[in-house]
């Protein structure tokens, strides 16, 4: 395979992974490589990144595809450059990782090997040396990751196997004890060590992908294992690490939306002529009014009432939407938020401007118990209670926003009450975090509610951002 083929395939794979790489950008990349040469892997990566990557949130996907197409090493750890020695025979590396010469250990798996390995990993996590962690990740996949019972050429590796055996999360406590700290003595240090453990996990994932790409070809692996960017991850299928990333993404997203909104408000048709400022401006052109000045147009701001289903299945979605709405609160006149499972509970006061997002999230989670009486989602009852307890909440100037998956456990839907609510409000929308193809399946009452309140699919941060922008 020539270098050009490799390049074309790499660009193709990036497109499959969701990076919009244009033809011109591909040409730029070739030119850049022509100028730089291909001796250094990191230079090559930088050249590709500079020319093909135009958004930072594509970076993870880019790095993963790059590692597949331009792996650091092949096989059990021989470097691609011929004549170089076996990686872990390097006495310095072996010493640094705390493992004895690995020839007798390669592929070996047993209680003793595992104990040795975990000890070495504990040291590495404490020191936080990225090179040693990479070396250990490679060792780990080689020793503990192989799925047994497959012939040569058919091997599979699994990061689940590795994580199950090595379980780096448990090692965090040991590392902290090794530092002479009690388990929850210093949350900041603990977080640093946990971050190291996550780095190790990612390295193992990358190593497993690399091994798989050798056996089955990079295209196959790129198509099946590259995860979409965090803005495309579904709320309902997000993992714990994803949720934290998403939470960090809320503030920047709100800031971007706010900039966009204020820009659009400025661009709207101008207000009436400001005579005084026009005359003042004409002074510099000898009394000729060359530019007219206008008064700004008064933006019409609406009230917003948000009703959120906070039962387990959609709680994340509800809290993200609430955080985003409250981060943009200056775009609205007044915002009130209510949560429900089968009982209604107002949570407006949990969103103080100065509170940080993490704290708000945990307070919201804690307040969910007020919203639940029997603990089974009951949309009909929640709507009825809302209409009874807060009849003044909805006015002709209010927009109503309902968040939830419309899965009401086959209970009474209280459709007449919902109809009254939509009449009382100016506009109403329903955001559903499920994929539209799952609506109306099982106990979902999406069709019934959808007839009364326009229902919008809102599965990830991108869709959420778009909706909130149109709302404000």
């Amino acid at each position: 395979m020539t270098l050009l083929d490799r390049h074309i395939e790499f660009v193709e794979a990036l497109r499959t992974a969701g990076l919009p790489v244009s033809l011109a950008e591909g040409l730029d990349a070739v030119r850049a490589i022509d100028v730089l040469g291909i001796e250094e892997r990191e230079t090559l990566r930088a050249a590709y990144a500079a020319t093909l990557l135009k958004r930072q949130n594509h970076r993870t996907g880019f790095d993963q595809v790059f590692d597949l197409y331009f792996p650091l090493l092949i096989g059990d750890g021989y470097r691609i450059v011929p004549g170089d020695r076996h990686e872990s025979e390097d006495p310095e590396d072996a010493e640094r990782s705390g493992l004895s010469g690995s020839d007798d250990l390669v592929g070996q798996d047993g209680p003793q090997a595992l104990a040795d390995f975990r000890e070495a990993l504990t040291d590495a996590l404490a020191l936080g040396d990225p090179d040693v962690l990479a070396l250990l990740a490679r060792e780990a996949v080689q020793r503990f990751g192989l799925i047994r019972g497959r012939g040569p050429g058919e091997q599979r590796w699994s990061s689940y196997n590795v994580m199950n055996r090595v379980s780096p999360d448990e090692l965090v406590d040991e590392v902290l004890q090794g530092m002479g700290l009690a388990t929850d003595d210093d949350p900041a240090i603990r977080r640093l060590v946990e971050a190291q453990a996550q780095v190790f996990e990612r390295l193992v994932d990358a190593e497993v992908r690399r091994r798989a790409a050798e056996v089955r070809g990079p295209q196959h692996v790129a198509r099946h294992t590259i995860r979409p960017g965090i803005e495309q991850v579904d709320f309902t299928s997000a993992r714990k690490a994803d949720l934290e990333l998403m939470r960090r993404e809320i503030q920047p997203l709100a800031r971007r939306l706010a900039t966009r909104l204020s820009r659009e408000q400025h661009a709207r048709p101008r207000g009436p002529l400001d005579f005084r400022r026009t005359v003042r401006a004409s002074m510099s052109s000898g009394g000729v009014p060359m530019e007219t000045r206008h008064k700004p147009k008064r933006p019409g701001r609406t009230d917003l009432v948000v009703l959120c289903d906070v039962s387990g299945s959609v709680a994340n979605f509800a809290s993200f939407t609430l955080m985003l709405v409250f981060a943009l609160r200056e775009q609205f006149n007044r915002v009130r938020a209510f949560t429900f499972v089968d009982e209604i509970h107002e949570v407006t006061d949990r969103f103080e401007t100065s509170n940080d997002p993490a704290q708000t999230m945990s307070e919201l989670a804690a307040s969910a118990r007020y919203a639940s009486l029997w603990g089974r989602t009951n949309y009909g009852r929640a709507f009825t209670r809302f209409a009874d307890q807060h009849p003044d909440a909805l006015t002709p100037k209010t927009n109503l926003l309902v968040l939830g998956d419309a899965r009401s456990n086959h209970t009474d839907l209280a459709l007449p009450v919902v109809k009254d609510l939509t009449y009382a409000a100016r506009h109403s929308w329903w955001l559903n975090p499920e994929h539209a193809r799952n609506w109306n399946t099982g106990d979902s009452a999406a069709r019934e509610y959808g007839r009364l309140i326009p229902m919008v699919e809102c599965r990830n941060l991108t869709q959420l951002g778009e909706f909130v922008h149109d709302l404000a």
């Binding site: 919009p20 244009s22 011109a24 950008e25 730029d28 030119r31 850049a32 022509d34 100028v35 730089l36 040469g37 990191e42 230079t43 990566r45 930088a46 050249a47 990144a49 500079a50 020319t51 990557l53 135009k54 930072q56 970076r59 210093d186 949350p187 900041a188 240090i189 977080r191 640093l192 971050a195 934290e244 939470r247 960090r248 503030q251 920047p252 800031r255 971007r256 900039t259 966009r260 820009r263 400025h266 510099s284 052109s285 000898g286 100065s354 509170n355 940080d356 997002p357 993490a358 704290q359």
Partner: protein, 291 residues
């Protein structure tokens, strides 16, 4: 096969020369800076506030001995502020002073170089010496200015109806910086090389602190960087940037702090954290005050 470029000779050369003028870069930064010079393409630098985006442009100018022309973008920036403007007051005077001169002569006279006020973009294009053109905070401008930039950045030429097209004598090296408050258009991004600068790892950050604040002792610098790394690990509204780390180091040196203990951090935390809620969180998580 490396071809010689008028800016940097190789990524390693870029790295070395940037370091000489006090900018410690990493592989990606120096490679991309080199590419920007070698391919003669604009360089779009993105990243959080205070990681040295503007400083990179200044450092490139210093390292290559070029002059820096800066265009600071803001909302409402227009052609007249970015490109060129006719000095109509002077033109008015010229017309009044013309006396019996015929209109045709006067007309030819008032649209000459003498009455042209060049703004940063035109200045950069007309210069014959090596120039670094810094377009700062390009995300603050309106979309129309982006369109204007497209013409300038792709062909390095400007068309003035009364004078004709002015083509760059010598292509400037263009650096655009952006805080990503909004998405730039695909057209602009396609024409640029992209570089994202993030917070550096602790090793590099320590070197930066020591090089920027020479009075600081190695040990104190290490402690500062360690605390800042912890703070960035927390979920803050605004994580401390490199610029703030350096400010903090200066503050501590000015106060004569020898070692960084809880009390010293608590007193000077305002230098690196600018939100009350961040402050509270840091005090709580770093256990600064005994409870």
């Amino acid at each position: 096969m490396t071809q010689k470029s008028s800016w940097f000779e190789s990524p390693a050369d870029a790295d070395k020369r940037l370091a000489e003028v006090g900018y410690l870069s990493d592989t990606a930064t120096s490679t991309t800076s080199y590419l920007a010079g070698a391919l003669e393409k604009p360089l779009l630098v993105e990243g959080p506030a205070g990681v040295g985006k503007t400083e990179l442009a200044k450092a490139i100018a210093r390292a290559t001995g070029a002059d820096l022309v800066r265009l600071q973008c803001y909302e409402g920036l227009d052609e007249a502020r970015a490109l060129y403007e006719w000095n109509y007051k002077k033109q008015l005077l010229r017309i009044q002073a013309a006396g019996d001169q015929s209109w045709d002569e006067t007309h030819d006279d008032i649209f000459t170089d003498e009455f042209l006020l060049t703004r940063p973009l035109l200045t950069a294009i007309r210069r014959e010496e090596p120039t670094v053109l810094l377009i700062d905070e390009v995300d603050k401008t309106d979309v129309e200015v982006e369109g204007l930039l497209l013409e300038v950045l792709s062909d390095f030429q400007v068309t003035i109806p009364e004078m004709g097209t002015i083509v760059a004598v010598r292509r400037p090296l263009v650096v655009l910086t952006s805080n990503a408050t909004r998405e730039l258009s695909e057209a602009i991004k396609r024409r640029c090389l992209f570089l994202h600068i993030d917070y550096p790892d602790s090793e590099r950050e320590r070197e930066i602190v020591v090089s920027q604040v020479p009075e600081v002792e190695e040990e104190l610098a290490g402690q500062i960087v360690e605390v800042v790394a912890k703070l960035r690990g927390m979920e803050l509204r605004k994580a401390p940037s490199i610029a703030e780390t350096i400010d903090w180091a200066r503050t501590l040196v000015a106060l004569g702090t020898g070692t960084l203990d809880a009390a010293a951090i608590d007193q000077t935390l305002g230098v690196i954290l600018k939100h009350a809620s961040d402050h509270d969180r840091a005090v709580r998580e770093l256990r600064l005050r005994a409870r």
